[in-house]
């Protein structure tokens, strides 16, 4: 991590610790065992919850990217029907609140489905992954469309003049060039996704936020409120801030005028 980044992280940690210290001094009553020790005790569980968030975000990103690429290419199709459907899909999933889509998937998808007489359960986390993949699909479609459209028309003309078909042109000429330009906005979509992942705690998935609330309920100490939530914030910060910095550096390198 670069120097300013390290400094920022240290300052952030300092503030979180200060928050941990504040309630200890403010709370009346018996001396509580150091909030620190309690945090350490529960840390493994919280980390496991965070890993669930990570796993869900990666899975959603993968699914959403594949679907979004298809829809994105569909937006520039030569067939008007495909084009309009793709545009509608993109707009719909970009304009819908993430939480509503999550609710939609969790409440309206079946609890299990039968395949060849076997009943396969459909757990909440799987529905959560799908629910998050939908807005990712909408956003990735936009990124793909933007990347393709940023390639100068001269490339299309030259490929045409060389008798390349439309799909050959996309595959061999346009996409290889557009991929680099799509990378920073695509990473940005992941950052937004990662930040939205804790929403799954509202629809019954056991992630870091669920764990945090369980811990607080178990300990029952108001002095722990700020440290525990602060720790969750810290975990996300430690993961997302480097990604954001990397994205910015890539943006500068692949800048489109």
């Amino acid at each position: 991590m670069s120097k300013p980044g390290c400094a920022r992280l240290r300052l952030f940690v300092a503030i979180v610790l200060a928050c941990a210290a504040l309630p200890v001094s403010a709370s009346e009553g018996a001396a509580t065992p150091s909030s620190f020790a309690t945090l350490i005790k529960w840390l493994p569980l919280l980390l496991k919850g965070f890993a669930i968030d990570l796993g869900i975000s990666v899975a959603s990103m993968a699914i959403g990217t594949v679907l979004g690429a298809v829809v994105g290419v569909g937006q520039i199709s030569s067939r008007a029907g495909v084009r309009r459907t793709s545009q509608w899909i993109t707009q719909f999933f970009r304009n819908a609140p993430w939480l509503v889509l999550l609710f939609f998937c969790v409440l309206l998808l079946p609890y299990h489905f039968t395949v060849f007489g076997f009943s396969i359960p459909f757990p909440a986390w799987a529905k959560g992954i799908i629910g998050l993949a939908l807005p990712v699909m909408g956003n990735v479609a936009e990124v793909v469309r933007g990347g393709i459209q940023s390639i100068p028309s001269g490339q299309w003309e030259a490929a045409d003049a060389l008798a390349l078909s439309r799909s050959q042109t996309l595959r061999l000429v346009i996409f290889p060039q557009a991929l680099k330009r799509m990378l920073p906005p695509w990473m940005n979509v992941y950052a937004v996704l990662m930040m939205a992942t804790p929403l799954v705690s509202i629809v019954g998935v056991e992630d870091s936020v669920t764990v945090a609330r369980s811990v607080l309920a178990a300990e029952g100490s108001p002095a722990l409120l700020m440290p525990v939530y602060g720790l969750v914030l810290l975990l996300f910060f430690a993961y997302c801030a480097p990604i954001a910095r990397c994205t910015r550096r890539l943006e500068a390198r692949y800048a489109i005028a």
Partner: protein, 248 residues
């Protein structure tokens, strides 16, 4: 090698972009092996006419025949692709593929479209690079080459498809004067070898020396045409005379 039937035959072509009538009743014939120059002020429709020949632009009225294809009747992609195997085009902005090396630029279309054998395609690519005097640049990327070098690669890339007709759209307009010469030299060699060429150009001296026939367009019509000597020394139409007085 001269054939009585023109290899490119344009009859009464009209084309408008919105309210703008770019081509109004243009007719033109080019015989096999001929080099034809299209000259005229900007906006007179020269580039559009060129694009009508290889189907990048669809004509509103009239007929276009090129290398045995009825271009004005093309409807399917397969037909268009068949046309472009016979008629190749070189652009003002070269439009090389920046993510591929020079060699890969040359080999892409023959491999993917003509589906030729890889060794054969590579050998021909090397030969073409020699022809445009760029041996040694096989593994360079377009971004590493000068404008003139890129344009010569573009010419080689178009030649790799073994076309019967080559279209050149103001290919030296974006180059600085020193590099213009090397590109014109390449084109002159092609013409002397018998390649049917249609050139849209501002290079009057070149047109005079290399072309077999000159056509002057203004505001969407061919005002005057003739062989270079007659055309440049004794222009008939006042519009031609005015244009030539400005550019010569």
């Amino acid at each position: 090698m001269q054939n009585a039937n023109p290899i490119v035959d344009i009859r009464n072509v009209e084309k408008s972009f919105g309210a703008n009538r770019v081509l109004r009743d243009v007719s033109l014939q080019v015989r096999r092996g001929e080099a034809v120059a299209l000259i005229g002020p900007s906006g007179s429709g020269k580039s559009t006419l060129l694009r009508c020949i290889n189907g990048l632009v669809q004509v509103d009225k009239g007929e276009v025949f090129a290398a045995g294809h009825a271009v004005h009747k093309l409807s399917t992609d397969a037909e268009r692709i068949a046309l472009r195997k016979d008629v190749s085009m070189v652009f003002q902005q070269y439009n090389l593929f920046p993510h591929l090396t020079v060699l890969q630029n040359l080999m892409l279309a023959p491999l993917e479209v003509l589906r030729q054998d890889r060794a054969e395609v590579e050998a021909r690519a090397h030969q073409l690079l020699g022809k445009v005097r760029l041996q040694g640049k096989e593994n360079a990327f377009p971004g590493q080459l000068s404008g003139g070098q890129q344009q010569r690669v573009a010419i080689a890339r178009a030649l790799a498809m073994r076309p019967s007709v080559m279209l050149f759209d103001e290919v030296t307009a974006a180059l600085d004067p020193e590099t213009v010469k090397e590109v014109l030299h390449t084109i002159r060699e092609l013409v002397e070898e018998g390649m049917t060429s249609i050139l849209v150009t501002h290079e009057m001296r070149f047109a005079r020396e290399v072309a077999h026939h000159i056509h002057f367009t203004d505001r969407g019509v061919i005002v005057e045409h003739g062989d270079p000597a007659t055309f440049f020394d004794n222009p008939q139409d006042p519009r031609t005379r005015e244009f030539l007085s400005h550019v010569l």
